[in-house]
């Protein structure tokens, strides 16, 4: 099932990535990264670990605080939801027992939004954590798929395409050997496989 896409992209093709990870992006942060997928660009900065945790956090584990900064204006419900999703995703990849009673601050600044914003932010935050040398269980990669009215699945849609779609889903995978299908074998060679999808956010009618 063919679908017209800009730049003669096929439905299962990602837009070109332009990922730069360097301390020189932001001099005063402990780790920073810029992640761009064509026109969508996100800047992530990591500060910490800093002393102390909030009252409702477990002091025996490290805490992660995420601040989402939109390109313009104040943060709303959607941004608050993105903050929570990002916080939970990052907490699941960080080894939080190494630096207990500390808080790591992750600030995500949106430079430009042309679709797949949340996956772009997750990828940027992961690279920034690596740059800040925060101990991680594994790396993550986030992607976005969308479903057209005709039932065609498109990978990595643009902002215009996102608005026309019936539904879309954001998926986050770890870089370990994974089995996405539950009935799949949980052994590959000598390494035990893990169930693959870490975070899944759906919007719209998937059926």
């Amino acid at each position: 099932m063919e679908t017209d896409r800009p730049d003669s992209q096929t439905p299962n093709q990602l837009r070109p990535l332009a990922c730069s990870c360097s301390c020189s992006i932001l001099h005063r942060s402990h780790g920073s990264a810029s992640w761009a997928q064509r026109e969508t660009k996100v800047l992530a900065a990591v500060y910490g670990p800093k002393a102390g945790t909030k009252k409702n956090e477990n002091p025996k584990k490290a805490s992660i605080k995420v601040i989402w900064k939109p390109k313009t204006g104040q943060i709303g419900k959607v941004e608050k939801e993105y903050e929570m999703i990002l916080k939970r995703t990052l907490e699941s990849i960080c080894i939080r027992t190494i630096y207990p009673n500390t808080t790591t601050l992750v600030i995500v600044q949106i430079v430009h939004d042309d679709g797949v914003l949340l996956p772009c932010a997750i990828n940027a935050a992961c690279v920034a954590l690596v740059d800040a040398r925060i101990p991680l269980k594994h790396l993550v990669v986030a992607i976005c798929c969308s479903i057209t009215d005709s039932g065609c699945i498109i990978l990595d849609p643009t902002k215009d395409q996102e608005e026309k779609m019936k539904a879309f889903i954001n998926l986050v995978f770890p870089n370990t050997i994974v089995s996405v299908l539950p009935e799949g074998s949980l052994q590959e060679g000598s390494e035990t496989m893990a169930h693959g999808i870490m975070t899944s956010i759906t919007q719209g009618a998937m059926s």
Partner: protein, 197 residues
């Protein structure tokens, strides 16, 4: 067993070996559910051979990165701190160094009255043990509360290592409870750290 000559670049989540073959060192962690050692940092993989007198013959695998991570105080680590406030039952201090490395974030510590010295802990006068501005060597007891780490100076080698007199000169230790100003000769009370021989 020699240390690996050629360092291999690894990223978090990459398998470094089995727990039966290697031990997890810095920048690595052992997953107990599948007995596998994984990298937790991005950097170069190094295998350190076991000590000759060690009973565990497994080499230690560690990941050393391109830039140093700022140290974080942990229970059992010896820190250098600057006293900021002295109260009747405790003294507050800002941790400046963890071991030989300086911290990149501000960590606050509290020295409680019962943790100043090992003997006669109920007779300790905090104002005769520390003054604001003193540099102390202390041991991290625990994480404490959300605001500060609990520190202890209850060992001979722990306590005030550097202090300024009222005249502004750096004082010289006279005994384990006294320091003397070299300019005025005035003696001030402190919980002095024993100098390393």
């Amino acid at each position: 067993m020699e240390e690996e000559k050629e360092a291999v670049m690894v990223t978090p989540g990459e398998v470094l070996g089995r727990t039966s073959d290697v031990k997890a060192g810095r920048g690595a962690y052992a997953a107990l559910h599948n007995n596998t050692v994984y990298a937790s940092l991005t950097g170069f993989r190094h295998t350190v051979p076991p000590a000759p007198d060690s009973s565990d013959l497994r080499p230690t695998v560690e990941v050393t990165g391109h830039k140093a991570h700022g140290p974080v105080p942990q229970p059992g680590s010896v820190v250098i701190a600057r006293v900021t406030k002295v109260m009747a039952r405790s003294a507050s201090a800002d941790i400046m160094c963890v071991g030989p490395k300086s911290v990149r974030e501000k960590f606050t510590g509290i020295i409680r009255q019962q943790d100043v010295r090992a003997t006669e802990i109920d007779k300790v006068d905090m104002h005769l043990s520390f003054h604001p501005g003193d540099i102390v060597r202390a041991l991290v007891l625990s994480l404490g509360d959300a605001r500060a780490y609990f520190l202890s100076t209850a060992k001979n080698e722990l306590g005030v290592v550097s202090a300024e007199s009222i005249a502004g000169a750096t004082m010289v230790p006279v005994s384990w409870t006294e320091m003397q100003c070299p300019l005025t000769g005035q003696i001030e009370q402190r919980k002095v750290a024993k100098a390393a021989s």
